[in-house]
């Protein structure tokens, strides 16, 4: 079992003819992902990495019976690509693109409330069920199959924590990068709910960071709804207010919301041990299992 993706997931790549799109399609196929089609306007009939390309997402989805799409479309055209994906018969859309205008994402966010499709991202590394499939740019060799679920706002921090887990013999059911933007599709609560409902997941790691109130909402959800134990990590304890730490969403506002202290306090109150270092997080997961 796993969350959202497995070896049977049939995947379309939007933007497959671009440099990043092509490179990561090859990487995904090499990892074992079932990439069944590409979608690029005007490039229908071509083939990339042995995969047929279609002009439209719905054409690709219907002909190849696809379930999911990974979006590598540049930010200027990304919102249109997301609307197209959400208007196709897909269960899951993973948006890798960084730098989509926030107001475009507000419109996409509104559309998401009207459809059944799940969006992961944007500005995220994607999702991986080790040994089965990866949708995105995560380096497959870092991950091992196992019983720990992981959800994170940051890509490289995910790799760091996963390597600490793997060092202790702790593999993963699924790892989900939800992205560092202020407006995202799948949030911590959605991912935690999926892990809670996954019988193969025996413990969960959530890696948050400064900015917004997603971690506080996750803490409330954990306290009320979860039996699966959760370990936490919050990046940005030393971040000064008003300075954006790389991610568009990672900022402590002048009025003091979005601080690491507030998030850590909420998680600890919900019974989630929060590590000072990634190693401590992996140690607490080891103790939980």
């Amino acid at each position: 079992m796993s969350a959202f993706v497995d070896e049977s997931t049939r995947v379309i790549v939007q933007g497959i003819t671009g440099g990043e799109g092509q490179f990561h399609t090859e990487q995904m196929i090499e990892y074992g992902t079932n990439v069944v089609a590409g979608a690029v306007p005007g490039r229908g009939g071509q083939e990339v990495a042995g995969v047929p390309v279609y002009d439209t997402v719905s054409g690709a989805a219907e002909t190849e019976d696809a379930d999911a799409s990974v979006v590598f479309v540049p930010p200027t055209f990304a919102a249109d690509a997301l609307f197209e994906a959400l208007d196709s018969p897909l269960d899951l859309v993973v948006a890798i693109t960084e730098g989509i205008p926030t107001q475009d994402m507000t419109n996409v966010n509104k559309r998401l409330t009207e459809v059944d499709t799940r969006l992961i991202g944007p500005n995220c590394p994607g999702i991986i069920t080790p040994g089965e499939a990866k949708l995105g740019i995560l380096p497959g060799n870092v991950f091992e199959s196992g019983n720990v679920g992981l959800v994170s706002r940051s890509g490289t921090l995910t790799y760091q924590v996963v390597s600490n887990l793997t060092d202790r013999g702790l593999g993963q059911t699924t790892a989900i990068g939800i992205g560092g933007d202020p407006i995202i599709g799948t949030d911590f609560v959605d991912a935690l709910a999926a892990f809670e409902n996954d019988p193969a997941t025996d413990a969960v790691v959530m890696c948050g960071e400064i900015g917004g109130e997603d971690e506080e909402q996750a803490a409330a959800y954990i306290a009320e709804n979860m039996n699966t134990p959760v370990a936490g990590f919050i990046a940005g304890r030393t971040a000064p207010p008003g300075k954006r730490m790389g991610h568009a969403g990672a900022i402590v506002s002048g009025s003091g919301t979005g601080t690491a202290e507030s998030k850590i306090e909420a998680l600890v109150e919900a019974g989630v041990p929060v590590g000072d270092t990634p190693e401590e997080v992996a140690d607490s997961v080891k103790e939980m299992l």
Partner: protein, 393 residues
Amino acid sequence: MRAAARFRVMRLHEYQAKEVFADAGLSVPGATLATSVDEAVTAAESVGYPVAIKAQVHVGGRGKAGGIELVESEAEVREAAESILGMELKGYEVHQALVESAVDFVDELYVGITMDRGAGRPVAMVSTRGGVDIEEVAAESPEDIFREHVDPAFGLHPYQGRRAVYGAGVTREVASDVASVLGTLYELWDARDASDAEINPLMITAEDEVVAADAVMNIDDDALFRQPDLEAMESESYADDLERKAGEYGFDYVRLEGNVGIIGNGAGLVMTTLDLVDHYGGEPANFLDIGGGAKAERVSNALDMVFADENVEAVVFNIFGGITRGDEVARGINEALENFDEIPKDVVVRLAGTNAEEGMEILNTDLVAVEGTLEDAVRRAVENAKDTEGASA
């Protein structure tokens, strides 16, 4: 994915935001921009006394910091302009001042549009507590700000503007005009890809006129590609030369107060590295994210940046490669350091992930120290910084 996310928030100056507001039909006080004392005097005469002299810099709380003066004569204009032009406000030098007709007001309101992250939707806000720091009002008495969420597909309906204005307790005489200002402000926010559009204070005169006495407009820099006229208004406003340099290199960079320089890839991991430096008793000098897929030149530029910070005593370089390749990073580090007769600061490198082993073999260990884990690398850099500090003390 951009290799280099730009670390710039596109903030319009007050005078620029007021131009945008005036073009949209909002009422703003008569004003002229001045860059010298003589220009300020000429401007004051054409605008008519009394005038406000207002420093044009990208910082909040200008009034309290001495960046705004109300004056009534030529002598006072000279004095105020001399003190404001060239002054340093919270680290930023003032080169321009707005000389503006002072509004004789009876009331001050706040109106603003911003993005409510939690709701995933824009929110329109009205408060009768204008003229003060609205973030303080929000923290201390949030009930004093009336909020109306907006469906982006439809925009701010006129009834929502009315509900916000009446809900906030704006007086009947000006309610309709204030609701209209709120509607125009939302249209601007939407059309110009703003992250924030604010008028604080929105002044009400004895004649029930509604005047935007200040103007804030921040633009989403990811959307500048479709706002070319606003992008052209962008003026360089870095607090110091290092941030300017980071802008030129296209790095996400934030300067801090400590002495351990930090370079890494990915915002979350770089933040974590900062936190670990603090955890092990050191003080981070900066946040520097080289982004994904960095090649040798970028790596070398990053070292150049951190060495240029005179506070830095030691450096930790932490890479967990996904799309970034360890061998590329190692080559960049070698190239950068081989240019020095003497390495300016001790550098500790930790490489993991894609091609990390190849990278470790390539790294010239005569020039850098290598550690296998993030924790060990940070601990060693913190010790190096303390040793250097001790030696120079």
